[in-house]
C-alpha cells in the first residue's frame, strides 16, 4: 500500500476488563495491571477466569433504541461513549454527509445471550419464546452494526463481519475496500463481543478454557480465558498534513484445515502475515513488534509460533495481551489493533502478563515484561474458528 492509500485512524475508543476508554486501557497495559477475575458471570458454573466489564447490568441502551437492549449493545454503547468518539464522528459526518460514512462491525456471538435467556422462559405449553424477545434487535449478527449506525446517526453502507475471532480485524479490510471502491468516503469500524453461556460452555466443552489466568507461550499454559470488550475506530483517507496512526496493510487467509484446530504448521497464519507485509510494502524487519493472537491454548500458540518464525525469524519482539483482557473473541482484532496505538504513542512494547517460563518448544521472541522501545510499526494477528486468519499492519504516519 502506498502511503497515500493508507487510512488514518482519526478517532478510536476501547472498553474491556482493563477499563473504559483508551487511556484507561493503555495505562493498565503500561502499569502491567491485568483485568481478569475468577468467573462470576451470572450463574455460569465453570472453573475459569474471565475478563468482565463492570456496570453493564445497570446501563440500558438509550431511549429510542430499546429493541436493541442487550448486554452486547450495552457494551457497544459504553465503548461509543468514550474518547469523544461521538463528537469526532459528528465532525466527519458534517464534512462528508451521513450517507457517505460506512459502518463495519465485527462480532462473533452478537446478543445470543438474549436468546439463551429467552429459551429459559419458553412457554411451557407451546414452547414459544417470550414476546419481549427481539431477535433482530439482539441475537442476529447484524445487531451491533445497526445499533452503532443508529447511535452515530450514520446512513452509509452497514454490515456486520462475523468470522469468529478474526471478525474485528477483518472489518479494517472491508472498510478499506468500500472506501477504495468509492462506496463510501470514511468508515466506522468496530468489534463487540460480550460474555454469554454459549461461549463459556462451548469453549469449555472443547477443553480450551484455563482454570487460571491464561499464560500464552508459557511451558505450562493450559488454555484461554474468555473476555468481553468493544472497540471502535474512525477511518479516513489521508489528507495532506495529517499525522497519527494509520492502517498500512492487511492480509487475510483461510486455513482450509479444520473448523476449530489451527493448521499445525501455521500455514494460513503465515500467509496472512505475508500478505499484510506485502500490501504495506514492507519486509519483516520493518516491523517493530507483533501483537500475537496468543490465546494461551497449546495448539494455537504452537501453530502461531511456527507461522511467526516462518515469516519473521526470531528477531521481532512479540506480545500476547490476552492475559490482560481475556480473549474478547469478535472484539479481539480491533482491541489489539488499537493497543498498537498505545505502544506507538507511549513508546513501549507490552509484555505477556501471567506467563513466567517460556515454552522451550516455542521460538518466537515473546516478551514476558513490558519493554520501553521506540515503536512506529506493529503487526497484529487475529485468527478464528473456520480457519479464518487476518493480520493488520498499523504504523505512525506524518
Amino acid at each position: 500500500m502506498m502511503p497515500a492509500d493508507a487510512l488514518i485512524i482519526s478517532a478510536c475508543t476501547l472498553v474491556n476488563a482493563l477499563g473504559r476508554g483508551t487511556r484507561a486501557c493503555f495505562d493498565a497495559l503500561e502499569e502491567a495491571r491485568g483485568g481478569l477475575r475468577p468467573c462470576d458471570f451470572d450463574d455460569a458454573d465453570i472453573d475459569t477466569w474471565i475478563g468482565r466489564v463492570d456496570g453493564l447490568e445497570d446501563e440500558p441502551v438509550v431511549a429510542g433504541l430499546g429493541s436493541f437492549d442487550c448486554r452486547n449493545n450495552r457494551l457497544a454503547q459504553v465503548g461509543l461513549r468514550q474518547d469523544a468518539f461521538v463528537e469526532r464522528v459528528a465532525e466527519v459526518r458534517a464534512r462528508h454527509g451521513a450517507a457517505r460514512i460506512g459502518v463495519f462491525i465485527g462480532t462473533s456471538t452478537s446478543g445470543v445471550l438474549q436468546a439463551e435467556l429467552a429459551y429459559r422462559r419458553r412457554d411451557p405449553i407451546t414452547g414459544a419464546l417470550p414476546a419481549d424477545f427481539s431477535y433482530f434487535g439482539t441475537q442476529n449478527a447484524m445487531s451491533p452494526a445497526e445499533f452503532t449506525r443508529r447511535f452515530l446517526s450514520l446512513e452509509g453502507p452497514v454490515m456486520s463481519v462475523s468470522t469468529a475471532c478474526s471478525s474485528s480485524a477483518k472489518v479494517f479490510a472491508s472498510a478499506y475496500r468500500h472506501i477504495k471502491a468509492g462506496l463510501c468516503d470514511a468508515a466506522v469500524v468496530g468489534g463487540v463481543d460480550s460474555l454469554c453461556f454459549s461461549t463459556l460452555y462451548g469453549f469449555s466443552s472443547l477443553g480450551l478454557v484455563s482454570n487460571r489466568p491464561c499464560r500464552p507461550w508459557d511451558a505450562e499454559r493450559s488454555g484461554m480465558n474468555i473476555g468481553e470488550g468493544a472497540g471502535f475506530a474512525l477511518l479516513e483517507k489521508m489528507d495532506g498534513g495529517v499525522a497519527g496512526v494509520a492502517l498500512l496493510g492487511y492480509g487475510e487467509s483461510s486455513d482450509a484445515y479444520h473448523m476449530s484446530s489451527p493448521h499445525p504448521e501455521g500455514l494460513g497464519a503465515a500467509a496472512a502475515m505475508k500478505s499484510a507485509l506485502a500490501m504495506a510494502g514492507m519486509t519483516a524487519d520493518a516491523i517493530d513488534c507483533i501483537n500475537l493472537h496468543g490465546t494461551g491454548t497449546r495448539a494455537n500458540d504452537e501453530s502461531e509460533d511456527r507461522a511467526v518464525m516462518k515469516v519473521f525469524g526470531g528477531g521481532t519482539p512479540c506480545s500476547a495481551t490476552k492475559g490482560w483482557t481475556g480473549h474478547t473473541l469478535g472484539a479481539a482484532g480491533i482491541t489489539e489493533a488499537l493497543f498498537a496505538i498505545g505502544s506507538i504513542e507511549r513508546g513501549f512494547i507490552p509484555g505477556t502478563l501471567n506467563s513466567a517460563r517460556l515454552d522451550p518448544a516455542l521460538s518466537a521472541d515473546v516478551l514476558l515484561e513490558n519493554r520501553a522501545a521506540s515503536v512506529t510499526r506493529v503487526l497484529s494477528n487475529s485468527f478464528g474458528f473456520g480457519g479464518s486468519n487476518c493480520s493488520l499492519v498499523l504504523g505512525a504516519v506524518s
Partner: protein
C-alpha cells in the same frame, strides 16, 4: 465504482435445483409456483467432514460448487464472500436448548459449527483454498451487502471473488421471530476482468428509487422473506440477458443500483 463481471451462477430455491432451473423460471416468471426444496449435497467436501455439515452449510456449499463448476475462473485463485442473515439457526437452537438443561452440555462439534462463518470454513476445506474469505450479515439486505463487499474486493484487489448468499429457515421456536420459510441460496463467481461468458455489472449507491419487485406472488414472497433472495430482481436480469438497471434495497433508505450490461 468500476465494473465487475459475473462469470457463473449457482442457484437453489423452492422448486429450483440449479441455475438452469432458474433460467426457466425467469423465462416465464408468472408461472412460477413454490415447489419442493431440493436436497442439497456436497461433492467436494471430504467424506469425514461431510458427515458433520448441517443443512445450512450444505445449502451454501451446493451453490458454491455449482458456480465454480460452471466458472472459467481457477478455483485456486478465488477469494470468497459469504453472506447470511441468520447463520445456522438449527445449531444455535440446539445449543440454546442444551443451555436450559441442568448439565448445560454443549456439544463441541455443534459449538464450532455455530459460528457465522462455518459454511465458509467448510468451503475452504472443500476447495482446498487458503484464499481470503469473509462472512457478512446485513439483515434483509445480506445479499446486497455481500455483493458490495465481493465487488469491492474484486475491483480493489484485482482478483476473482465467489459470492455465496444463503439463508435456511430456522426451527421453532426461532422460526416465529425470523420469518424465513424456504431455503434459498445463490452464488455469483465475479471476475475483475471480462471472461468469454461474463456479464458486466456496474454499481453505485443511490436513494429514492422504487425498488424492483417480482411478478409472481410466490417469488415476491421469497424475495421479501429470505435475505439471500433479495437479489432476485438482479438474477432475473442476468437470466433474461437484456441490459438494464436494477435497484436493490440496502438498509435505511440506501439502495444499490446495479447496471447490467450484456453482450
Amino acid at each position: 465504482m468500476k465494473s465487475v463481471h459475473v462469470d457463473a451462477v449457482g442457484l437453489v430455491g423452492p422448486g429450483i435445483a440449479s441455475w438452469p432451473d432458474g433460467l426457466q423460471v425467469f423465462a416465464d416468471e408468472s408461472a412460477y409456483r413454490t415447489g419442493e426444496s431440493p436436497r442439497c449435497t456436497t461433492e467436494l467436501l471430504p467424506a469425514n467432514e461431510r458427515r458433520r455439515v448441517s443443512s445450512t452449510a450444505r445449502l451454501a456449499l451446493k451453490v458454491a460448487e455449482e458456480a465454480m463448476a460452471q466458472s472459467s475462473l481457477d478455483i485456486d485463485s478465488v477469494c470468497s464472500v459469504f453472506a447470511t442473515c441468520n447463520g445456522d439457526t438449527e445449531i444455535i437452537d440446539k445449543i440454546c436448548v442444551a443451555l436450559t438443561e441442568p448439565e448445560r452440555a454443549v456439544s463441541p462439534t455443534q459449538f464450532h459449527n455455530s459460528v457465522h462463518n462455518a459454511a465458509a470454513g467448510y468451503w475452504a476445506i472443500a476447495a482446498h483454498s487458503r484464499m481470503p474469505s469473509t462472512t457478512v450479515c446485513a439483515y434483509h439486505a445480506s445479499f446486497v451487502a455481500g455483493l458490495m463487499e465481493a465487488a469491492a474486493q474484486s475491483q480493489v484487489e484485482a482478483r476473482p471473488v465467489l459470492l455465496v448468499a444463503y439463508d435456511y429457515p430456522p426451527p421453532e421456536p426461532l422460526a416465529a421471530s425470523v420469518g424465513t420459510f424456504s431455503p434459498f441460496a445463490v452464488a455469483l463467481a465475479l471476475s475483475p476482468d471480462a471472461t468469454p461468458q461474463s456479464i458486466r455489472l456496474r454499481m453505485e449507491t443511490v436513494s429514492g428509487y422504487p425498488v424492483e419487485v417480482m411478478k409472481s406472488d410466490d417469488l415476491e414472497r421469497l424475495r421479501v422473506s429470505n435475505p439471500a433472495a433479495c437479489g432476485l430482481p438482479l438474477l432475473r436480469v442476468l437470466a433474461t440477458g437484456v441490459s438494464g438497471r436494477v435497484i436493490l434495497s440496502h438498509a435505511n433508505g440506501l439502495q444499490l443500483a446495479v447496471d447490467v450490461e450484456t453482450g
